[in-house]
């Protein structure tokens, strides 16, 4: 006979408020195999745990049932408690009488009945629990960081500084991300390039960082500690070891296309360096526009290159590497404004986005930092800014708040006034959100010292009238409709996830929310982890955020990765599948359903009536199995079982509830 102990937790009033603890204890006492029943206000507290430890010894308990909160909350805690008292941790069973019972019910009587049923099921299951021993898996002591904006740069530097090797993969020809496009940054107005460029150089020169620009991750397999990753290094068409960065090729190339870095405001060549401070400072040939690749003639760059670095024959390279952990930092895009015809974006050159504004006012931008109306190259006098273009808009845009636009618009107002004291800014807003250190003060400065005029209301329509733009809006505080003759209109377009975010998530086996931002494991308590062990998140790929937050998150993700890499081995979860070779018919239905490719076939030599025959069987790779249980449902003879969730155990639970 088992010696099962049941411990019922009050969780303060969380459980005790809705469940009659005394009645539960009385009922538990009568359950088969139960030799001890106790209760306490907070079972997870030190007093609660020591009560469990003492009782295990005193009553010689061989199974525990803790009736408390969700196992996601405290299963690990109580397993440790059991282990401390010498009991195998997998002999602990949790009855979730909080999330599954007290929190979702109101009537005490019914909730009590349900709590008893849940405990009865747990007791029945516990009777079948077996001692399990966790194995160990080795950890590859190298990290992969995907995306080299400020988040990726910071995470890579932190991990590398801790002494681990980091591979930093960036899709575009240079690292830097969006921050490299910005002019000055709120709330301190330090120049973006001045604080970013040194970090970019650090990345390039760090002995532990391998930089793969113009590269993409193509395949990710494996599991925490042992990810197998394929990286595609796209052909740059330049021999990086030869190129001296002299730039002659850039001058001579005859082909011009829109510069992505400058938001299409000016052209770049087909062979190009995205911006002067690019890292690496080596050109790349954009084969989709290069005349040599399209028409087979030209080759001007090859002819003029003094270092003979141009290489048209270069092919994509596939690298296969192993990593212990991955940090995902792929950043954000801004919303395309096709759906917002009333703002006239794309119909008139003086209606621009905030990101274009950043480029126009940036000293290294297309106009050398002179803010001009693109229609006539004159300096604008009246500039209208519109908040929330596509943000907080469930009809045509994104329902969420993009979080940074209030602040960067205030920044734009200040920068403008500093540069052009005669200019006047008008800002249409719905709410001004300045939650952040020094943020509200910054916004008030824009109003009080820099004369920005804020209207509480939004703009209905913008259209050209003569050589001006007529802006029709509203100020709801005065209940007046507003018309402004503007020289320039700047639209704060919503931040959104990268177009391919969902694909990237699928490749890595992590989740995305409805807007394709990557999902963290817990919004409060595990903000930089994902549900896949060993994969971490930082920056705007997880949700809209500014640079301070991005950097903080990158540091946190790096710390998590460092904790992982600093272990030589990891404890594997022993709750994995096992095949009962006696029963397995070798149909291999399980292989089809396993999402982790953890099941393979094997042959077994078996003596049947003195003859040796070969039998086909399924076998589980315990390191790959994630314990999802799909195979157990697919297996017709019931030969494959998940340890700790075997068919016997589940049926015992069902019986206990139903019979």
């Amino acid at each position: 006979m088992r010696r099962i102990g049941v411990f019922v937790c009050w969780c303060g009033t969380n459980i005790a408020g809705t469940v009659d603890i005394e009645a539960v204890v009385e009922a538990a006492k009568k359950m088969p195999g139960v030799v001890y029943t106790g209760e306490y206000k907070y079972m997870c507290s030190e007093i609660g745990q020591s009560m469990i430890r003492d009782t295990i010894k005193k009553e010689q308990l061989d199974r525990l049932v803790i009736a408390s909160c969700s196992p996601r909350m405290h299963e690990a805690t109580f397993r440790r408690t059991a282990a401390a008292a010498g009991l195998n941790p997998y002999l602990v069973e949790i009855a979730n009488i909080r999330e599954h019972c007290s929190w979702v019910h109101k009537e005490k009587e019914k909730a009590t009945t349900k709590a008893i049923a849940l405990i009865r099921a747990a007791v029945a299951k516990a009777a079948y629990n077996r001692e399990l021993v966790a194995g160990e898996i080795p950890v590859e002591q190298r990290a992969l960081v995907i995306g080299a904006g400020i988040a990726g740069i910071q995470a890579a530097l932190d991990i590398a500084d801790a002494g681990f090797e980091v591979d930093l993969v960036e899709r575009t020809p240079s690292i830097g991300g969006r921050m490299a496009q910005l002019d000055k940054t709120f709330p301190t107005l330090d120049c973006s390039a001045c604080i970013l460029t040194p970090k970019m150089v650090d990345v390039a020169s760090h002995p532990h960082i391998n930089l793969y620009t113009y590269s993409e991750v193509e395949k990710v397999e494996g599991y925490v500690g042992n990810f197998d990753v394929t990286i595609r290094k796209k052909a740059r068409s330049i021999d990086m070891s030869r190129c001296t960065g002299c730039g002659v090729c850039l001058e001579k190339c005859p082909i011009k296309v829109d510069s992505e870095f400058n938001e299409g405001l000016i052209k770049r060549k087909a062979i190009y360096i995205p911006f002067p401070q690019a890292v690496p400072n080596v050109p790349v040939i954009d084969r989709t526009s290069c005349r040599w690749f399209k028409k087979g003639k030209c080759a001007v760059c090859k002819k003029v290159c003094p270092a003979d670095a141009v290489d048209y024959e270069q092919a994509d390279e596939l690298l296969e590497k192993k990593y212990g952990g991955i940090v995902l930092t792929t950043g954000f895009d801004t919303l395309k404004l096709d759906e917002f015809g009333e703002f006239g974006y794309g119909k008139h050159p003086d209606i621009i986005t905030s990101l274009e504004f950043e480029r126009l006012i940036n000293a290294s931008g297309p106009t050398g930092g002179k803010l001009v109306r693109l229609s006539n190259q004159e300096i604008p006098q009246n500039i209208v800014f519109i908040h929330c273009v596509g943000s907080r808009d469930k009809a045509r845009g994104k329902p969420y708040c993009s979080k940074i636009c209030c602040m960067y618009t205030a920044k734009h107002a200040i920068l403008l006034k500093e540069k052009y004291p005669h200019s006047q800014t008008y800002i249409f807003y719905i709410d001004v959100r300045t939650g952040g250190k020094e943020f509200e003060e910054f916004h008030r400065r824009a109003v009080e010292e820099y004369g920005a005029v804020y209207f509480r209301g939004i703009v209905g329509k913008v259209f050209p009238e003569g050589d001006k733009l007529l802006v029709q809006g509203v100020d709801s505080l005065s209940s007046r409709t507003i018309e402004i003759e503007a020289d320039m209109v700047v639209l704060a377009a919503a931040m959104q996830a990268r177009d391919d975010a969902a694909e990237v998530a699928r490749m890595l086996g992590i989740g995305v929310d409805t807007h394709h931002f990557f999902v963290e494991a817990h919004p409060k308590l595990r903000p930089v982890e994902t549900h896949s062990a060993g994969i971490y998140l930082a920056g705007a790929c997880q949700g809209p955020k500014d640079i301070p937050e991005t950097v903080a998150q990158a540091g946190a993700a790096a710390a998590k990765a460092i904790v992982l890499l600093s272990k030589k081995t990891l404890i594997a979860d022993p709750c994995v599948s096992e095949v009962n070779e006696e029963i397995c018919t070798g149909c291999l239905a399980c292989i089809q359903v396993c999402p982790y490719k953890a099941i393979t076939e094997k042959t077994l030599d078996q003596k049947v009536h003195g003859r040796v025959v070969q039998r086909l069987l399924a076998q589980v790779n315990e390191a790959l199995c994630q314990g999802c249980g799909s195979c157990t449902a697919a297996c017709r003879p019931g030969a494959i079982n998940l340890k700790s969730f075997s068919n016997d155990q589940i049926l015992a639970e069902v019986d206990a509830v139903c019979l």
């Binding site: 907080r392 469930k394 009809a395 719905i430 209301g457 703009v459 209940s479």
Partner: protein
């Protein structure tokens, strides 16, 4: 102005919600409807204020306004509202409630005789009667 709980929970507010199919609580008062409205200048209260007064249960303010009779049902506001609130539907519900209750027509046959004879299309006359009379 005093706001009472009864006022917030009045039946007529529920009627307006049912008849218009719109939930005024979804509005966050950005004013886009007003900014978009081509006839807001002639209104005594602006479209976003109509929604605001309904949020607060201040019915008299909207029922006595000229706004609901000036609204042209052009749907510009509805197409641009970031919260998917169809103000045109709300305006119509308010008109309908008044017309049904009072049975008072805002438009008489004699009002239209002249324009009709001047060539105003049937479509215009019929729409006007559908909107302003019962």
């Amino acid at each position: 102005m005093k706001v009472s709980t009864e006022q917030l929970r009045s039946y007529i507010l529920k009627d307006i919600a049912v008849i218009s199919g719109e939930n005024v609580v979804e509005c966050y008062q950005c004013g886009k409807c007003t900014a978009a409205c081509p006839v807001s200048k002639a209104m005594d209260i602006l479209p976003h204020q109509v929604v605001r007064f309904l949020q607060l249960g201040m019915l008299d303010e909207v029922m006595e306004s000229n706004t609901i009779w000036i609204c042209a049902s052009c749907f510009t506001c509805a197409g641009r509202c970031p919260r998917d609130v169809d103000v045109a539907n709300i305006m119509e519900a308010l008109r309908v409630i008044l017309l049904r209750k009072r049975g008072v027509s805002r438009l008489k046959t004699e009002d239209v005789r002249l324009v009709f004879s001047e060539g105003m299309p049937e479509q215009g006359v019929v729409s006007a009667f559908r909107k302003f009379a019962r």
